[in-house]
Symmetry: D2
Subunit: 348 residues, 4 copies
């Protein structure tokens, strides 16, 4: 922490600042410039008690030097963290492809989508059972029934499951069904939920909030890790900007930056960020090119009749086509795509 004093601030004001720093246990050092004095304070503790420093008399500016996150930081752990879901690894050389419908609608449709995705080499099935909807009058999800359906499809196909949790009191039940709990963009700063997810050891997919800076995103991951759960996957999904052609603006730089700043795996969601299936294949290629460790993509057998987010869902044929485009790009980047399941003799 560096405190810049105003031009010709009297010594008494400098002393008051130094005393305040001493009070909370920081050691002040002064540099005497020709006109301005600068005070450096070493230490990281109790910084939240010092918000008032910048309005002490004689203080021109307070500058923070250290990054506020610790456990999630690459300085804390140099090598990449790899989250292992019983054999399916996120953050290693193999890209993680998560796909599925926006919402779980019923068993038949979910099972059909699940089997299709399995054949395409997808290893993780996404599907909303608890849905955060802007309108109280929109479909709110099948809740436990939806989790049961996902679980059944997982048993049939061997797919792993990722699904959203909306409330601290649902963490226990959701984590008993899924392999990865998703905390959605709207809940990225729902600290009660973050803490509860941190008390579990279930992997957490943490989506970036639509108005949240990269630093705030990493701080929310820090909340989960600080409670004891190191299994966090970061997911960029677009931020709010003035541009209206897309639903949100995919912050592709955030994918690269999060990889540089943190050891955690980073994936991105081209479906929610764009709001348009026509952009999903090119954005998916861009995300892995920027260093992303995987993708989470909406797929529906019949998007025109999906109960939510139809316009951004790929159908089976456009998804298959996209996967075939991703393969050579992954190879060019030195990454691998999930292997296709081996077909038993006689299968077509």
């Amino acid at each position: 922490m560096i405190i810049v004093m105003k031009l010709n601030a009297p010594q008494s004001q400098v002393d008051a600042v130094k005393e305040r720093l001493n009070q909370v246990g920081l050691k002040p050092h002064t540099i005497e410039g020709v006109e301005k004095q600068v005070i450096g304070a070493v230490g990281n503790q109790n910084l939240s008690l010092l918000s008032g420093l910048e309005i002490m008399e004689g203080v021109e500016k307070v500058l923070h030097v250290s990054s506020p996150y610790q456990l999630v930081s690459r300085e804390a752990k140099e090598e990449n963290s790899i989250i292992d879901l019983g054999g399916v690894k996120i953050g290693g050389p193999e890209l993680a492809i998560m796909a599925g419908p926006c919402a779980v609608e019923d068993y038949e449709k979910t099972s059909s989508i699940g089997h299709f995705l399995k054949e395409q080499g997808v290893s993780i099935l996404r599907g909303g059972a608890y849905k955060p909807r802007t309108s109280p009058y929109s479909f709110q999800g099948l809740e436990i029934e939806g989790l049961e359906i996902l679980y059944q499809v997982a048993q049939e196909t061997g797919l792993k499951i990722v699904s959203e949790v909306l409330s601290p009191s649902d963490v226990e039940v959701v984590s008993s069904y899924v392999d990865v709990m998703q905390i959605g963009a709207r809940n990225m700063q729902n600290y009660a939920l973050l803490k509860e997810a941190g008390k579990s050891l279930k992997p957490v997919l943490l989506k970036r909030g639509m108005a949240c800076s990269i630093e705030e995103w990493l701080m929310s991951a820090e909340y989960i890790m600080a409670e004891g759960n190191p299994h966090v996957i970061l997911c960029e999904r677009g931020i709010k900007t003035f541009e209206g052609y897309t639903r949100n603006t995919l912050d592709i730089s955030a994918v690269s930056l999060a990889k540089q700043l943190s050891h955690l795996p980073v994936i991105a969601d081209p479906s929610h960020s764009s709001g348009s299936w026509k952009l999903v294949p090119s954005l998916s290629k861009a995300i892995i090119s920027a260093g992303g460790d995987g993708l989470i993509i909406e797929v529906h057998e019949n998007p025109a009749e999906a109960w939510c987010d139809g316009p951004q869902s790929l159908n089976f044929s456009t998804f298959q086509n996209m996967m075939s485009q991703l393969h050579p790009v992954a190879t060019a980047l030195g990454r691998t795509m999930p292997e296709l399941p081996k077909k038993v003799k006689g299968e077509k």
Copy 2:
């Protein structure tokens, strides 16, 4: 809902769209332009099932005509809603002034601030007991102990209390201590919390999310009202923009607009939106001039030593000065300020 078909879309595609509308119970009407056809659909139900309409073949654009909120809308209720906290009214001609520290720090400081504010004509004391903090290492609030302190100061002073609730499971306990539960900006789309607050009858102060549109804000109010709680106060507190001089950008137009679109009371928070006490007096005057029904302002006896948000807190003297500026402006606008408490003989 209006569906614009592509140039020369064949009749079969038009028919498919009309059939889909019929399926979910909407009545389609067609207008034949020279080149393009337009289909109007009357009805408001099941719209969430129709997200996929815009990707049906031949469809160029889908346009929504009706506003998605109903109970909060001024069309639903023409006269202003007034929230009555046992005599203190929000939304009537008298402006509601809520003030107090960012966080409840201890009894002595809270009591001292409370008595000061009471003398200034403030009728509602704000103070955080549960604090949503970006960092897990920052002070997280005194929790129940903080509520106890607020309650005690309320008993002593006659002030009403507003304090934040962070989790659905805390709604019961928080609402047993306070007169108004605050749902903060970070939780504006925490639907589990909105629903729980909607099941209570305790008034709710709903802050606008930093990346949330005015429509999304009204939809979150709709969540609370749809559960049966009509006592909602809207609070603008700044949105995220590229401007870095201020902590957020106070959307002053949102204050005026929310009053036009909804019958609910609308207040604003000049402290959090600006992040700087030097802007609070002028923004406060602007907020009431734009039609705001009140203010929520951070005040601390010694902002330089506040445990959080010191830079945006007024001290006693700057608050007093601001109140004296607000009086003539309120009068000019045809509004009244809360009456000062009558002094007993012998008091100075």
Copy 3:
């Protein structure tokens, strides 16, 4: 300028930074912390040559302490600057009300609007002769013919004229007709135009760019002043944000802040920022309450048939009504409104 070195950066890297500072004429001072070293550099010259400093080896961060604007800064000149247009003063106790149509359409309409505004106490007529339009197919303005019309109406009414200039080569002709040259939001960083306007002594109304920070806005004013023209009026007119209900988001804090940071007069444009005439009266009251020195407002006799920006134009009756609301607010703020012209006996 403060350079924070990385943890345990070797002395050779510290020396390299100090040498680079010496090279461009700055004097480095070092502070030795327990773990990190910090170098302060005194001086303001050649800073633009130092952009590369932050990527020198061992450098963690470069922090700028001084504000980059000088002539426009309140530190440079403590008292308010007042721009005097032959008796009509901007920046003094009297508020400046500028009003008129978006575009000059023809003599009759302009004259009719001018005479109406004169009676309402307006002292400056706005009207676009050169129009910056998003589409090349939209009406581009009457150009010189428009200036002639404005000049004629000014002669008839005694109103002063403000009108936009789009190109450096038009500065001479526009400034020969108008009392204030407007530089629009889209041209706020058109440095060729700023320099040309700076070579004139004609007052300049500098609108803030829609994506420009307050600092960038003041830097653009600095361009004009650095060329020798001290007569700059700052005008806030809304920034681009995600909110779509309004055309732009009026940054009301920027009005207060610009008054604190600079000695120049600051006005705002409630018409362009909101895009809706229904918001103009309340925003106008908010602007002057926030410390604005005046307003620039679109008024048209028949907004429904205006050639541009009809939806944000007040008509005669709504403008008159707004003026009557502004009077008491101005008085409450200790400001005055322009006096109404004295009527000659016998006039109604």
Copy 4:
């Protein structure tokens, strides 16, 4: 254009709207819903005269159906436009790599950079001779001397030249030296400059403004094409958002979208959008993966001593490394990279 009338608007109001449409030459068609009437208007002319329509009595909403750009639209021309700079093609299968220093500093450095880039397979040299700088006190560019240097290096190396033009009066001189005139982000809505560039036949690189929507960007390209110059290259370079870790937010979706909406070539600038050389390689791969036709990248022999934008400049070694990463990705995408120059025998 579709006009939605308010619930139960009387026939007289509907008739007034239809009359207004007829007045400007549009043909109205009415659709009678059960409760609301909708009027469709066919035709595209004089739309700018109709801004006032939405405030006519009884009108609820006016919806625009057609895109406002025509010449730049892919509907107008299905196949990709290819800009041919004497053999170097932009918009075809081969990616266009433009690179060079932010500013031309002197002949020696520019020549050294030019020869290095030539060897790396770059075909177009970028370099600023006229610099738009936020501060009037920053280095403003060598102007004509800078153009002379670029021209000389082009002669020596066979590289094509792209350089920025800031003012309409400089279009003639700049276009006499360069192969592509750049119009920068700050001038994207400098219509006087766009028109002047449109009167030339010199190819124009049009950067997207930092607060400009994709539609506004295409409209600015339309300005150039409407004047008769079809040789426009679109360049995404980041938009202003709340995120502060990067200088701007690269809108990767805009690259894909612009390719879908328009036939013009689309490139992007990873240097200015990120502000950090460490992000340039991964963003470059993302840009071409998203469908970009090329890149414009800042390269300097010694970024720490560059006169501007050092932190975002690659040095020779990081540029070379990036090029080697781009090759396999280009191949995977079915694109080609520029061929390396054949070495004469005896060269190392």
